[in-house]
Symmetry: C2
Subunit: 112 residues, 2 copies
DNA sequence: ATGCATACATAGATTTTGAATGTATCTTCG
DNA sequence: CGAAGATACATTCAAAATCTATGTATGCAT
């Protein structure tokens, strides 16, 4: 089980990373996260939508409704330039810490 | 600059990882973190001591004072078995998420 | 004696999160 | 047709965790 703080720290970068690969809507993002994490990360919609709203307020993402054929209306989110910058810098931070952790726990291997 | 949430998520695992390598005291832990992160993580003592106290209350670490030669008294922290378990499971979680992030951002390379 | 690094400690204002809850549509299957 | 379950989005606010600000004190160098 992933700790609360780690969950909190990873939510935004994961959302940004997913949207960097193409626009997407809330419900689908949840499934993609579950998918890409091998089932270890299971988000609820109740936690995701507020996060998406906050990220939109911060201009990391934008949204627009799309009504198609037989489907329910969906709100699609798109990453902004600011969002891409944020993602890039988050990834750098994650790398620092991950490498610090690895360096401490197995000092012999270097790896990535 | 490392984000607040990421900072929060990494504090405990880093402390545990350091103590897994041998007992240590607060001030020295701060320097070790700075050192191992290449200067990217700079903790303040004011944020560390409360964390250490909470971790001790949760039995992840124990502490005892050591008064030596010309030095000031220092409170040395030791990792417990429970702490080692915690560290191990945190590392697993970190790996999941790091790999999910990497998988999303550069889908071609696998790596570790 | 002055300044700086070392060393530990506490309180509590502030922020943040996400669980709980609500609404509604689409699909499937008997 | 009707029921059940998956899909889809939305809001509120109680509860909890963090760490900034602040305080104390010693060792060492010059």
């Amino acid at each position: 089980m992933v700790s609360k703080t780690l969950m909190a720290a990873s939510t935004r970068p994961l959302i940004l990373a997913i949207l960097a690969g193409g626009k997407n809507y809330g419900y689908s993002i949840i499934q993609k996260v579950k998918d890409i994490s091998g089932g270890h990360l299971e988000w609820t919609d109740g936690m995701l939508y507020p996060v998406l709203q906050r990220m939109e307020m911060e201009n990391l993402i934008t949204s627009n409704w799309k009504l198609s054929d037989g489907n329910r209306p969906r709100r699609y989110y798109t990453i902004t330039d600011k969002g891409r910058d944020e993602l890039a810098s988050e990834l750098i931070s994650w790398r620092y810490i991950w490498q610090a952790l690895k360096g401490l726990t197995d000092p012999l291997k270097a790896g990535d």
